[in-house]
């Protein structure tokens, strides 16, 4: 049970809150407090729009404990409109319909659970934008 660990990350998991570097202007997700590009302190919060496109993707057939029941599932690198890549599952789309460059948007979904009686972990996934058009 890792309640505090997941609770700490609630603004990242539910709202894609990252940071913006006051020195070079680069936007950071996940937040890291020291800019990835210029190594200046970067603690100013920045909320991402949740819009992006598929930069790469994989459909997983051999899953670790905690994810076996979801097999096969698709994990992507999503390039957010504001710049950074984020690792996230794709949802509401069949694996064979995923394409490089496909526009996607962030949604909140169940990521995993700690057994039938345990905590359910929610967080961001991404779905094709065309579904909501």
């Amino acid at each position: 049970m890792e309640v505090s660990r997941h609770w700490r990350l609630r603004t990242q998991r539910y709202s894609l809150v990252g940071e913006i570097c006051p020195n070079c202007g680069v936007k950071l997700f996940p937040p890291r407090d020291v800019c990835l590009e210029c190594e200046a302190p970067a603690k100013e919060l920045f909320t991402f729009t949740g819009l992006g496109e598929v930069y790469s993707y994989t459909t997983i057939y051999d899953a670790p404990a905690g994810f076996e029941r979801y097999v096969p599932y698709t994990v992507a690198l999503v390039k957010l409109a504001e710049g950074p890549l984020v690792t996230a599952q794709l949802t509401d789309v069949a694996a064979e319909d995923v394409q490089m460059g496909m526009p996607v948007e962030m949604v909140t979904r169940k990521l995993t659970e700690d057994g039938p009686e345990g905590m359910i972990v929610y967080g961001y996934k991404f779905r094709p934008i065309s579904l909501t058009a």
């Binding site: 994989t58 997983i60 670790p64 404990a65 990521l111």
Partner: protein, 397 residues
């Protein structure tokens, strides 16, 4: 600066050692290395291990192994850097000897994968990823390799089959290695029909995980002649890091830590890629083999796969790789893998590689990666009296 040489090597078979514990595996490799070196005079022990805490619920391996190997009292610690742990342990031994405070050091890489099965191993492996931002999404080491591979195929207009040469070469070489897990050839048509692990990565792109241990003994080069009939020089040694998470890289197809550590180690040795006779690289996935060849200067970006297609990675090719089967066919024993690479390079440079021998091998490169390349450790090994083409430059920090 003090030169460091390898005076003893030992290894166990890579396989499912159901009947052998973690401590026994480590001991069997140590025993072989001590026999090979004709010494028991060890000052310090560096243990490379990745997952014993998760898989065997056993940490504190320095004290455990020093005690079990009859070296109670010696300085001993574990070095952890995911699957680069063994190579990172060797790096620490090199630094210790160069410091002048340690005369002779034992490096042992050991991994006991089969105390758990299936998804429990996957769960443990995921601890080498960014837990908060990669593993929580169900990502795995294979998934990260697949994300790199899909992008590579897309960028350069390639297909999965273009990577077949890496696995076929590894299996061909492992057939002659009695320590290898897979000693059968891999026909090209089987590669094309591999079971998907994390599309596009299949079982035939992915190195099999198994139990194993390998050990090397190192000392000052001046003392080495008295302690071994065929010492092998560690002419270059470097460790570099990159972002842990793949998504934080500027370019997911450039292994920055691999490039940095290779450049440093080669500069240290006074050598360039043109002077390297063979390369034991980290072929945990075929895409990592291609990207490693590119990062280390053997091919331009996007062309590493062509060395496999053109037969340039075979024992008689331009740059032989995975000469005893590599991770793919010798087997991937986690934190022991980086030490297996060093044992194999030493056998090549001693001219003791048998059917796996690269003719005229005098300079070899070994590179071990942690995870998707968050850590890279590179060593240049040479025959004892090798004269480098360029002046060797010491590390500066």
């Amino acid at each position: 600066m003090t030169n460091v040489s390898i005076i003893g090597i030992g290894q166990t078979e890579v396989r499912e050692h159901w009947d052998t514990s973690l401590r026994h595996l480590a001991w069997y490799a140590i025993e072989a290395a001590l026999d090979d070196a004709i010494t028991t005079d060890i000052d310090a022990i560096y243990v490379g291990n990745m997952l014993a805490g998760s898989l065997s619920r056993q940490d504190h391996l320095g004290a455990l192994i020093a005690d079990f190997a009859g070296m109670r009292g010696r300085e001993a610690i574990t070095v952890e850097a995911a699957d680069a742990s063994g190579a990172a342990a060797l790096r620490q031994a090199v630094l210790a000897i160069q410091s002048g405070l340690v005369q002779t050091a034992l490096v042992v890489g050991v991994e006991k994968m089969t105390d758990q099965t299936g998804s429990a191993i996957g769960h443990a492996l995921a601890t080498t990823l960014d837990q908060d931002y990669e593993a929580v999404q169900g990502a795995t080491p294979a998934a990260l390799a697949a994300l790199m591979m899909r992008r590579y195929l897309h960028t350069y207009g390639l297909q999965l089959a273009d990577f077949a040469g890496f696995s076929i070469n590894a299996h061909r070489n492992a057939a002659h290695n009695p320590y290898a897990l897979f000693r059968h050839p891999l026909p090209p048509e089987r590669f094309a029909a591999g079971t998907l692990v994390a599309a596009p990565v299949t079982l035939f792109d992915q190195a099999p995980l198994a139990d194993g241990a390998a050990a090397v003994i190192v000392t000052h080069s001046e003392r080495a002649m008295d302690m071994s009939p065929h010492p092998v020089r560690i002419a270059g040694s470097a460790l570099a890091t990159d972002t842990l998470a793949l998504h934080d890289r500027r370019d997911i197809l450039w292994l920055a830590a691999a490039a940095e550590s290779a450049q440093k180690a080669m500069r240290h040795a006074g050598i360039t890629p043109a002077g390297i006779h063979l390369f034991e690289l980290h072929d945990a996935y075929t895409i990592l083999a291609a990207l490693s060849l590119e990062a280390c200067g053997f091919a331009p970006p996007g062309q590493g796969w062509q060395l496999a297609r053109d037969g340039q990675i075979g024992l008689d090719g331009r740059i032989p790789i995975s000469t005893f089967g590599g991770l793919k066919a010798r087997g991937h024993a986690g934190g022991a893998t980086g030490v297996y690479q060093i044992v194999e390079l030493a056998r090549q440079l001693r001219g003791e590689a048998g059917e796996c021998q690269v003719p005229g091998a005098r300079v070899g490169l070994a590179q071990s990666l942690g995870g998707s390349g968050g850590t890279a450790v590179t060593h240049v090994l040479t025959i004892d009296n090798f004269q480098p083409p360029f002046s060797a430059q010491a590390d500066r920090f």
